[in-house]
């Protein structure tokens, strides 16, 4: 790893600031894809550079990809000059830490050949074709990140992270009706993750379900008891718990972009829903897509309960928002590249599993819908008014599945959703995603998850 200038940068910035930090990131990325049986070429690249933060009367950051000290210094000088103008300038400094860490990978990215990468994607494209898909898009990205973080309190942390991401989009036509599915998989590990995924089986199963869903009838709108699958529990945990508890949103830092939070201006703890609901964000899960031992601001990671027994409990904090709250950062500061500021971000956000076996959730459901997975979704900018459109879904009559339905839609709000939960399954599962935030927009790697859950009296359209 290069980054030879980092100590010179820190010394220079520290001597001119109340607090300074420097981060060097080297990012190597490979991407291969197939579209409808055609290889789409190989993309690979190396990105590296310095991010320097200085705090004086306000906060400034300089980003440079140069190894020429004079050029880097010019940007830092500009940042220091601007930091002497008025603005917000509180930042959590914490204690100095010196450490080195790396992601565990038994099949290292660098040991996997390009032919091996192509073979994986080609096989999945072939599986789609043989299952009768009309549209096939497959893409696999792997990246190796080497990072060195230093700050003026004396911290020096080196991290090595390898991550894999697989995306596919598949579409089928059945009786003239088009139905699509997109799925994402990711992990902080080596290629052993992809090998264990059984992607071919998952894809074939997905396409089979799409054929049947395309031909299924719509439901008549009304109130139903519903059982949602882990994929939906996960997206709900992410969108209507993780995002609104990012403290920078609560205090308006993202107001003109991703928005504020329905928690803005509220007193805490605030009841969000049923006491059976606990939502966790945990960056310490080995192998998870959002795994890290230290965040990108050099803070040691830990598990955080965001909603506990149906009430707000803890917020996601980076150094800046922790200082605004007047407490320690809990290691939510993440940046997806060398040239982007660390923001308060999620890692692996999930609804904690309960005691119910899957079959037991159906007990007592006289008229219901089981929505196993979703397709379209969105949520308003305060993370309150949300929509999830079912992909694979079934009617439930007197506790039994009684037929498939097409695209049932939950359009509700956060309080109503969590308040309707009365039983939580014991079958925790995760899916991967790229979470967007910030300006310039930066996508960070996350998992989201949960078990099956039962909700009472939810209006479906």
């Amino acid at each position: 790893m290069d980054g030879d200038l980092i100590h010179k940068i820190l010394d220079y910035a520290s001597s001119r600031s109340k607090f300074a930090e420097a981060r060097y990131m080297d990012l190597v990325v490979n991407q291969v894809g197939f579209r409808n049986g055609e290889f789409q070429g190989l993309n690979f690249g190396s990105e590296h550079g310095y991010a320097v933060r200085v705090v004086n009367r306000s906060i400034s950051m300089a980003y440079s990809d140069s190894n020429d000290w004079n050029r880097v210094k010019e940007s830092i000088d500009r940042a220091i000059e601007k930091s002497n103008f008025e603005g917000k300038n509180r930042i959590y400094e914490g204690n100095p830490i010196k450490d080195t860490w790396k992601v565990k990978a038994s099949k290292k990215l660098e040991d996997y050949s390009i032919e091996d990468r192509v073979a994986i994607v080609r096989e999945n494209d072939a599986a789609m074709e043989s299952s009768g898909a009309a549209v096939r898009v497959n893409s696999m990205v792997d990246k190796q990140i080497n990072q060195l973080y230093v700050n003026s309190t004396g911290s020096e942390i080196r991290g090595e992270i390898s991550r894999l991401f697989y995306f596919y989009l598949v579409g089928v036509v059945e009786s003239g009706e088009f139905e699509q599915s997109t799925e994402q998989f990711g992990s902080s590990s080596g290629f052993e993750y992809i090998e264990k995924l059984d992607l071919r089986d998952r894809i074939e199963q997905d396409i089979n379900e799409l054929h049947q869903s395309a031909a299924a009838p719509r439901i008549n709108p009304g109130k139903f008891d519903i059982i949602v699958g882990p994929e939906i529990s996960g997206i709900v945990a992410h969108e209507s718990c993780g995002h609104p508890t990012e403290y920078d949103r609560i205090i308006g830092r993202e107001g003109a972009q991703a928005g504020e939070s329905f928690l803005t201006g509220k007193e805490f703890p605030l009841r969000i829903g049923s006491p059976v609901v606990n939502v966790v964000d945990d960056p310490t899960m080995d192998g998870s897509f959002g795994f890290y031992k230290y965040d990108d601001e050099g803070i040691p990671s830990r598990k955080r309960y965001l909603y506990k027994k149906g009430e707000t409990n803890e917020f996601i904090l980076n150094r800046e928002s922790a200082a605004q709250l007047g407490i320690e950062s809990n290691a939510g500061g993440r940046s997806s590249s060398w040239n982007l500021e660390p923001l308060a971000r999620m890692s692996t956000t999930y609804i904690e599993p309960g005691d119910y076996k899957f079959d037991d959730l159906f007990d007592g459901v006289r008229r219901g819908v089981y929505i196993k997975s979703f397709t379209e979704w969105n949520i308003d900018d305060i993370r309150f008014n949300e929509k999830y459109v079912g992909k694979e879904a079934y009617l439930i009559t007197d506790g039994d599945i009684s037929g498939r339905v097409r695209r049932p839609t939950i359009e509700t709000n956060t309080i109503k959703f969590y308040s309707s939960v009365d039983a939580i399954g014991n079958d925790l599962q995760f899916s991967a995603g790229m979470c967007g935030k910030g300006d310039p927009e930066q996508g960070v790697d996350v998992w989201m998850g949960g078990p099956h859950m039962r909700l009472r009296e939810v209006y479906l359209q």
Binding site: G87, E115, V135, Q180, I251, G255, D380, N385, N413, D439
Partner: protein
């Protein structure tokens, strides 16, 4: 300033034996001020240079980005090695070999703006117009791009000023997101005025109106239609047509919208930050009429997709995936105010976000209004509506257009709206759903 020697890069690509190759060197200096709750959060400065190399051995295509000039030779060697190990890319026909007679290169340079002062002025403007607090950002960008291919080369500078401000009052919000290219320096007063404009929705009737889901006439602001066009522009890329994910497949020279609607891609307008003189394979850019008076006249093409379609490239490469540079909906004759006054019953929506598709092929989507949605009856705004969505399809929105304003705005906002120029659009019988 960059240390890359492009002559050396091109010579190396040639001598190594690549059949086709293109390089794009982008050197940028960007400043940004972010603010919220009326005060500055952060000043950012970027100094970046990236060289992107596309090369092919026959139909085997590889792309890489290089940051370090010292790694140029080894990167090209690695490209050569990897290109020998991958399958052919049947979609790739070649890089546009036609000599480009001229490029519409404007003599542009970076413009100095004092973002610190401007940010405070724009916040003050918002507060004076009635906001309780404001959040937003300003960007000042200057980006010099040098594209070289085996056949052509072009250098141009683009960038400009971007202003985003959101005004808050209680639970109500208003937002503006504007862009100004490098053609001329924008007067500070004009920039400051954007703060005031962002607060205008805060003075509209705030009494809540409960609406039933159903079909409504919807007057979409430049931000709403800008968002929908940004999220659906890929349907007009021939790449999406070939993939099977476009609602405009098999629609050439057919009616795809109301006859009042004309959509163009205009990358040669340097009044906007979407200006660019050439595409990624050094094809000269120009005005591309996509939909003319309701008729689909063209897709967006690179050289490769144009050969597949039996037509000429439109200068929209992405060598493999063509896309839009700077969309414009041509203005109509009426004022937005008159469009509201003549609306018997409908909804005025100021902004939207989080547009997502459940069906790309038929462009069935929903999007979430923000920064003000208002119920209009007998030409007057009655009150605001919350908790709703536009839930419909792009073909239906386009075919339902009955009015286009004469006013347009250069709109750009975050990842939600790409640089574009958009009017107000009135579209009838649009699906509105709501939360229960």
């Amino acid at each position: 300033m960059t240390l890359f020697d492009l002559d050396k890069a091109m010579n190396k690509l040639k001598s190594r034996g690549f059949d086709e190759y293109a390089t794009e060197l982008s050197s940028s200096r960007i400043e940004q001020v972010r603010f919220s709750r009326n005060s500055k959060d952060l000043y950012n400065i970027w100094d970046n240079s990236t060289l992107v190399i596309f090369a092919s051995r026959g139909k085997r295509t590889v792309t890489t980005s290089v940051k370090d000039p010292g790694r140029l030779d080894s990167s090209i060697e690695l490209l050569w090695e990897l290109a020998g190990k991958i399958p052919e890319n049947p979609s790739f026909v070649g890089i546009n070999p036609e000599p480009q007679e001229s490029y519409r290169v404007e003599k542009l340079a970076g413009i100095d703006y004092d973002l610190q002062d401007l940010s405070q002025e724009i916040v003050n403007s918002s507060l004076e117009a009635g906001a309780e607090r404001a959040a937003g950002l300003l960007y000042n960008r200057a980006n010099t791009v040098e594209v070289r291919t085996k056949y052509n080369q072009c250098t141009y500078t683009t960038g400009g000023l971007e202003v985003v401000i959101r005004s808050f009052k209680g639970n109500d919000t208003g937002q503006e997101g504007r862009h100004f290219g490098l053609k001329e320096k924008v007067d500070a007063g004009k920039i400051s005025e954007i703060g005031c404009q962002s607060a205008e929705p805060l003075s509209l009737p705030t009494v809540r109106v409960e609406l039933n889901p159903g079909k409504y006439d919807v007057l979409m602001s430049p931000y709403v239609i800008g968002n929908l066009m940004s999220y659906s522009s890929s349907f007009l890329s021939y790449y999406s047509v070939e993939t099977g994910l476009s609602c405009f497949s098999e629609s050439m020279n057919k009616k795809v919208s109301s006859s009042t609607f004309t959509l163009v891609d205009d990358p040669i307008d340097s009044m906007g930050v979407g200006y660019r003189a050439c595409d990624d394979e050094a094809t000269s850019t120009g005005l591309n009429v996509l939909i003319e008076n309701g008729i689909l006249r063209n897709y967006m093409h690179s050289f490769s997709t144009s050969v597949h379609a039996g037509t000429r490239t439109t200068g929209n490469a992405g060598i493999l995936t063509p896309g839009a540079w700077q969309l414009k909906i041509l203005p109509g004759a009426e004022s937005a105010a008159k469009m509201i006054s003549e609306l018997d019953e409908g909804i005025l929506i100021n902004n939207c976000w989080y547009t997502r598709y459940q069906d790309y092929r038929n462009a069935i989507f929903s999007t979430v209004p923000r920064d003000g949605a208002f119920y209009v009856k007998n030409g007057e705004i009655q009150g605001s509506v919350t908790g709703i969505r536009i839930s419909d399809s792009i073909p239906n929105v386009l075919s339902g257009i009955t009015g286009i304003s004469r006013e347009t705005k250069n709109v750009k906002w975050w990842e939600e709206i790409a640089a574009s120029n958009m009017p107000y659009i009135l579209s009838e019988k649009i699906g509105i759903t709501k939360s229960f």
